[in-house]
């Protein structure tokens, strides 16, 4: 009886054309074979993985071969170019789509200079020259110029800046293409923490950047500032900023050997590193260390006057007269 019931069930199933045709169709066997292959591949991959392990670091011979490889050189140039194009994209977003250029030599001789924009903090400073699409009175293209001024984003007068939050995805993409673009990490983290109000995202972005650029004092400097400003974690801030100042000294030494020095943005970031280091020590109640940080900072970045102000604040704190660390 029972066996008859089973047969009748099979008959019922196989009598449904779609089900039976699916089960006995050749493609079902192929699918089954693929499935079996996938199941078999899992333990095989587990066994093979240690054999396929590749070290992240180049061995000396490999490094030399990489330096001499034309293909790698071209790939490196492509990486840099894509990174630079994305950097230009961030500037385009910041200026609402309007492209600005540096003044030509003739324009400079006529007194037209690029204006420095420092409204958003260190690392975001840049120069704004005239717009690429010329104003009507300076345009040689007649009606084509009139049309172009309506088709291309263009506005007379000084540049206006958009919400920098819109720039964040470009920084994230940029560091995917070129993980050594330090300014993308510092700017991106600043905008994430400040404008997008997501300091955790900014912190993680910088930590990822520091892993890829362990020599960069700029990243450690901004990381320390984010710990100080948004997390009030003075200990971590001090750790990052001590690291930043140490790395900066190394970089200054290396630059001095090549008769070079830190640029303006780097100088600004180094000054901020000492300032926030002093503030962090003050927040931790370590006034002697804070004073030492101010002194060292004034020596390393002589033009950074905020350190003198901070030194006076620390002295007041030490004497038990001051209020907060700010």
């Amino acid at each position: 009886m029972r066996r008859e019931g089973e047969y009748s069930f099979l008959r019922t199933v196989t009598s449904i054309p779609s089900v039976s045709s699916f089960i006995f169709h050749p493609s079902s066997f192929i699918l089954l074979i693929c499935l079996a292959g996938l199941i078999a591949a899992a333990p095989l991959a587990h066994l093979l993985a240690p054999q396929l392990y590749v070290e992240a670091r180049y061995k000396p011979g490999e490094f030399q071969a990489a330096k001499e490889s034309i293909a790698l050189s071209l790939m490196g140039q492509l990486q840099m170019s894509v990174g630079d194009l994305m950097w230009l994209k961030t500037l385009e977003y910041l200026h609402n789509g309007i492209i600005y250029r540096m003044p030509s030599q003739r324009e400079q001789s006529q007194g037209l200079q690029a204006a420095e924009f420092t409204g958003m903090g260190a690392g975001v400073a840049h120069h704004d020259g005239p717009s690429l699409v010329p104003d009507k009175d300076r345009d040689w293209r007649g009606p084509l110029g009139d049309v172009d001024r309506h088709i291309e984003p263009w506005r007379p007068g000084h540049p206006q800046h958009s919400d920098p939050q819109e720039l964040i995805p470009w920084y994230q993409l940029l560091v995917k293409f070129n993980p050594h673009y330090v300014q993308a990490y510092t700017n991106g983290a600043f905008f994430m923490s400040d404008f997008a109000r997501q300091p955790e995202m900014g912190r993680d972005f910088l930590i990822a950047g520091a892993e890829k650029n362990p020599w960069s004092f700029e990243i450690e400097s901004v990381l320390g500032r984010i710990y100080f400003d948004y997390f009030k974690d003075y200990e971590r801030a001090a750790d990052a900023l001590v690291k930043a100042t140490g790395l900066a000294k190394q970089e200054k030494r290396a630059l001095a050997e090549r008769q070079d020095k830190l640029d303006n943005i780097q100088g600004q970031l180094l000054g901020e590193a000492y300032l926030f280091l002093a503030r962090s020590y003050t927040g931790l109640g370590q006034f002697d260390e804070a004073l030492a940080a101010c002194d060292e900072g004034m020596e390393e970045v002589p033009g950074y006057n905020l350190l003198r102000v901070q030194k006076r604040i620390v002295k007041k704190h030490k004497a038990g007269e001051g209020g907060g660390s700010e």
Binding site: Y93, I99, E107, W140, I151, S162, A196, Q198
Partner: protein
Amino acid sequence: MWKNIRKPVTIARVTVLESIRRKDPYVVLILGAAMVLGAGLFSRFGVEGLEKFVKDVGFTVTTVFSIVICVVATARQLPAEIQNRTLYPSLGKPISRTSFYFGKYLGVSLMSCAVVVAFFVLLRVLLLVFGIPVGGVFYQALYLRVLSMWFIAAGVLCLSLFLTHAANVTISLLACMGMQLFAHSILYIHDELTGVSLRLAEALYWMAPHLELFDLSKKVIHGWPPIPMWVLGGMTLYGIVYAAVFFAVGCVRFRRMAL
């Protein structure tokens, strides 16, 4: 009148049907799906207020793919007909070469316009899904992009009678994608030029077909207001003049060609 128009319309209809048979619309759908999947990238960033980025990616994909489809589809029309010898039975019928050429031009232009409209519909749906508003400038951008398809198709069809298929596709794509770079380069260097080089740069600028003027995507991306109607009218006239010049040159060449 209708009798004169019917012949090129029939050729155009066959061109569109041939394009459907060659599965060009499927390519559009696949590319559209890739665009929508690419939009999934945005959620990974987890930051609000990325309207510009979404629009930028959408418009870049739309512009590049619609130009590629227009160029590739147009460039193969006449060389394929000549190579496969399907041109001869067509010309054996009571149809002039001008009508045939016009029919081909009409067909590829309509097909390219349909592709652009499909992309813009897809893009509009994508922006609706993300809750990103677009103003009237979005539809102006659509109009100018559709207009540019007629312009590009005329140029590529004309070049297909002078160049090999591969050379035509390469040159046309470079011209379409690089025209903005060319125009911006002239604007960059113009102030530093003098004498003959200045005159040459200005002449080149005036003569070159300015495809970048049909691209309003930056205005849409950065949320600018719609442009005045006289600009659209001017661009329509500009597009018609250039398309007519390319069409006339191509038509003369096709009529004189020894087949």
